[in-house]
């Protein structure tokens, strides 16, 4: 058993868990943040993607203990003051989700992708970088559309602010 402390969605949290506890289970079971999902046991599906110190990671491939001291953002931490994040809004506007199970991981991956590429993202890059996220419902068509639209919008916003 280990006591683990980290910042999750801007709040310091701690919990006691088994040494073998994965970050995803710590988030779901100890913190009750069930938006982060488990879709596989081989780190292939991406349903569990969260941000760790600003970068997307699969929370099923990291031990909770390894994440001690880090800053984690989960899907629950993305919307601010009740306003959907532009990526969340784009997924809704472009019907980028159906059952919603892959969606939190997709959104977290997309936010990181846009952070790295900005509005310069193109369809080929989006499809290539979605390699680690599986969606069984949407056929990806609208997810790709949503991510490109969000990249445009966020790129535009950033330029306007600069």
């Amino acid at each position: 058993m280990a006591k683990v402390t980290m910042t999750v969605n801007g709040r310091q949290v701690s919990g006691v868990c088994d040494d073998r506890t994965l970050l995803v289970h710590f988030i779901r079971e100890n913190l009750g943040l069930t938006g982060t999902h488990v879709g596989c046991d081989t780190s292939q599906c991406g349903a569990c993607v969260v941000h760790m110190n600003g970068q997307s990671v699969k929370s099923c491939s990291i031990l909770a203990a390894q994440a001690a001291g880090s800053a984690i953002t989960t899907i629950e931490g993305l919307a601010q003051n009740g306003e959907l994040h532009p990526v969340q809004a784009a997924f809704k506007a472009h019907h980028g989700l159906q059952c919603g199970f892959c969606t939190p991981g997709m959104v977290m991956t997309a936010v990181d992708m846009i952070r790295r590429h900005g509005s310069g993202l193109d369809e080929a890059t989006v499809r290539f970088e979605l390699e680690g996220n599986i969606c069984r419902c949407t056929g990806y068509h609208n997810i790709v559309k949503a991510i490109l639209a969000a990249a445009q919008e966020m790129g535009g916003v950033r330029q306007a602010a600069e």
């Binding site: 046991d41 599986i134 069984r136 056929g139 068509h141 790709v144």
Partner: protein, 781 residues
């Protein structure tokens, strides 16, 4: 029509909770005192259990109890059932081998559940499950259906000699044989339809809660069909009386058919909760899902299609062997029979059809409905044969189809179905125009210059959905009726709750059902709430599968709305001292037509419940329910065209474009319909190019994770070009058909036809992996 009404691309109401991590799936549920279950599963594909020793496991940290099949039997829990009775052509009923929720004597596939461990944590339950000692005497194994049938050894169930479940036929064999003998040309083909794992992204899960105080059971479960789960668990498995069992299927992360059935884990967790006195939750991991979720497809067929001198089809003869796995799952028997052979006429006027289907037990996971269920198998067989025939006859595939299209409706096929309406040429023309069919030769020449082999392929599918008239399915062997129910409750303040027996697991019912209400009552969509998935809240239901929610579920809602409107008009007429036939409902008010007199909707609703001033004799309140039993199936149809480039060096197939032109009748929300098509196309492309369940000779599953089973990823599929035409369905009040399965039905043949066109070799089986395509391309030289 209001802005949110029928035909509008309304963004989905349910999205906000999914996008913010507030979706509530079964594994997200926890209740006080809840413990965790892990199943002990057979590592062998076929064996006799000679002993189970759980002594060590019971003593391990955190373990509450370990329960096995003998205890389950002692408590009177019944066998799993198959709900659709098929008779062989000799009149004998299908041979159903016993399927115990926990195997007590024999295991028949790797993953067959043997015992359940309940512990404080999943990790502790898993540790203890490994400490349960099960002694097995190994038996010989068969995974190949042809082998299982040919030698009849090893045999899986004593009830089914030679592993034959049924030998069933449909159609007129003599007429077909006569036509074959007289034909100007006969095209023959062997068709293999690969076994698939449905793989909804949410793994199955169930939480069983027994409340000893009330002697009441609650089952949270990942189901497409909670009412059926309750019925079957009560009436057949003896888990709990129906009036003491509540089944809740909350947010469900995809189903595609695999969550229609009732699985052993749901039964066992409920029973274990009573046995142990604690709520018991089980969540599948992905490998367990591959091992135990019912698989789809798995047909081997031979087909003969006979033509006259004018290239008109005069007969079709099909012989199919369907592998149903180790046990008969809930709907398994109807998939390769009434959902398959009845669609073998496709879009064509075929005077004589005969299908013979033998279904077989093997030591593999049970096979049941998966997106399309029988209809993809029929379409693949027919459309591969049409394309092959066109090549043999030396005419264009479009021309051959045009020659044979059904053009007048209603059309009675020789295999039961009576098509109500359609315009197949419209879809064909639309798809060919969008795909620039006539420009293909130039594109092919250009690709050749780059060393690429370019091919184009089409498929014209038909689907029977909106399952289905209860009397019709009953006469064909179904164990239940396939109506749907809806209840509309107008609250005192005028907001609305709709209780529907349809279940949404990604299809967007909370939006489309609300659109129908908004359309009818002129109310904003946010004032309408759709409730589903809970047997305590929804009166009755038959769930969602086979693209039935629109055609059947929404038709029930339309009927209930008729009653609500009629009563609301009575109340409003009384309030305004007008004639009830003069009242119209629009823009959130009830108006006297042709005057400026009106009563706001909410005021009428309040009046219904205050009951101070109602027409004499009128019952207070405003809440109406309806059941709807469809008059016929509905028949969506369409044409898909796929263009590919194959790299002859590597065998890799690149999809250059994919065009889908569908006829779905009237459409409630085009955005959602397009999304359904996209998803279906990706699953069909997955079947054609990537996916395939593989067992080795000893029955070990070789594809038990995402490392071994290739799921389509974003890079494997193109952006799709989809469009619809809209011939209304004449048989339901909304004129809707169904769109959920179309993509998965129509796409595999279009894609394989394109590849075979590119490489000039028709001998190709799905999945068309680069290795296979490369070898086939080499062989064609």
């Amino acid at each position: 029509m209001g802005v949110d009404g029928i035909g509008a691309r309304v963004a989905r109401k349910e999205d906000r909770r999914f996008l913010t991590g507030k979706g509530r799936y079964t594994d997200d549920m926890s209740v006080p005192g809840m413990k965790y279950a892990v199943f002990v599963r057979s590592p062998h594909a076929h064996a006799t259990i000679t002993g189970i020793d759980a002594t060590a496991a019971r003593a391990m940290p955190g373990v509450i109890d370990v329960l096995d099949g003998k205890q389950l039997l002692a408590d009177g829990i019944g066998n799993l059932i198959c709900g659709w009775m098929i008779h062989s052509k000799d009149g004998s009923p299908m041979k159903m081998g016993a399927w115990r929720p926990l195997a007590d004597k024999t295991v028949r596939y790797v993953g067959d559940a043997v015992a359940i461990v309940v512990a404080d944590s999943v990790a502790e339950a898993r540790d203890a499950a490994e400490a349960v000692v099960v002694d097995y005497d190994l038996l010989p194994v068969v995974t190949d259906p042809l082998q299982a049938l040919a030698y009849g050894e090893p045999q899986l169930h004593p009830e089914a000699p030679n592993n034959l479940i049924f030998d069933w036929e449909l159609g007129d064999a003599a007429a077909v044989d006569r036509a074959l003998a007289a034909a100007a040309h006969v095209t023959e083909l062997k068709i293999y339809n690969n076994r698939l794992a449905p793989n909804p992204m949410e793994p199955r899960a169930t939480l069983g809660i027994y409340d000893a105080g009330d002697d009441h059971y609650t089952c949270y479960t990942t189901s497409q069909n909670p009412h059926l789960a309750r019925l079957v668990m009560s009436a057949f498995y003896n888990v709990a009386p129906e009036n003491k069992l509540r089944v809740i299927a909350p947010d469900v992360g995809g189903g595609f058919g695999s969550k229609i059935y009732i699985y052993p884990e749901e039964i066992v967790c409920l029973w274990a909760s009573k046995r142990t006195g604690v709520p018991v939750k089980w969540t599948c991991d992905r490998t367990e899902a591959f091992l135990t979720d019912a698989h789809g497809r798995d047909h081997v067929s031979t087909v003969k299609m006979a033509f006259d001198a004018g290239n008109r089809i005069i007969a079709l003869k099909v012989d199919t062997i369907a592998n149903l796995g180790a046990y008969m799952s809930l709907f398994s028997s109807c998939v390769p029979t009434y959902l398959y052979a009845t669609l073998l006429s496709g879009q064509y006027d075929i005077p004589a059809i005969h299908a013979n289907v033998r279904s077989v037990y093997t030591n593999t996971v049970p096979v049941d409905a998966y997106r399309g269920a029988g209809r993809p198998e029929a379409t693949y067989l027919l459309e591969r044969t049409m394309e092959t025939a066109a090549r043999e006859l030396g005419i264009s595939p479009a021309e051959l189809r045009r020659t044979n299209f059904i053009r007048s409706f209603p059309h009675q096929t020789p295999v039961i179905m009576n098509y109500d309406a359609g315009d197949y040429e419209a879809s064909l023309n639309a798809a060919m125009t969008t795909a620039d069919w006539s420009g293909f030769a130039a594109r092919k020449a250009e690709a050749e210059g780059r060393g690429m082999k370019r091919g184009i392929g089409m498929s014209c599918y038909i689907e029977a959905c909106g399952l289905a008239p209860s009397a019709a399915v009953g006469s064909l062997g179904a164990g239940v009726g396939l109506w749907e129910s809806a209840e509309v409750k107008v609250n005192m303040a005028g907001t609305i709750e709709v209780m529907t027996g349809s279940h949404s697991h990604g299809q967007g019912h909370e939006t489309t059902f609300a659109q129908l209400v908004a359309d009818r009552l002129g109310l904003p969509i946010d004032s309408i709430n759709i409730v589903h998935g809970d047997t305590d809240k929804v009166q009755m239901g038959m769930g969602t599968y086979g693209s039935r929610s629109g055609a059947v579920g929404m038709s029930a809602l339309a009927k209930a709305l008729d009653k609500v409107e009629a009563k609301a008009k009575k109340i409003a007429a009384h309030l305004m001292e007008a004639d009830e036939s003069d009242i119209v409902i629009e823009d959130g008010a009830l108006k006297v037509a042709g005057t400026d007199r009106s009563v706001p909707w909410f005021q009428m609703a309040l009046a219904a419940y205050t009951a101070h001033n109602l027409p004499p004799g009128l019952e207070p309140g405003l809440k109406e329910s309806a059941f709807y039993d469809p008059a016929n199936f509905t028949f969506p149809a369409g044409c898909y065209i796929c263009e590919v480039e194959v790299d002859p060096e590597t065998g890799r197939t690149h999809i250059v474009q994919f065009v889908a032109a569908d006829d779905f009748g009237n459409i409630i929300n085009p955005m959602i319909v397009e999304g359904q098509v996209h998803g279906g196309l990706a699953q069909g492309i997955g079947q054609a190019l990537l996916e395939g369940v593989r067992y080795n000779d000893s029955g070990q599953l070789l594809t038990a994770s995402y490392l071994d089973y290739a799921m389509p990823r974003a890079d494997d599929v193109p952006s799709f070009n989809v469009s619809t035409s809209n011939t209304p369905c004449p048989n339901n009040p909304l004129g809707v058909k169904g769109c959920g399965e179309a993509g998965a039905i129509g796409s595999p043949p279009a894609l394989i036809n394109a590849i075979t066109d590119a490489i000039g070799n028709n001998q190709l089986t799905m999945p068309a992996t680069p290795e296979k395509v490369w070898a086939a391309a080499q062989a064609a030289h």
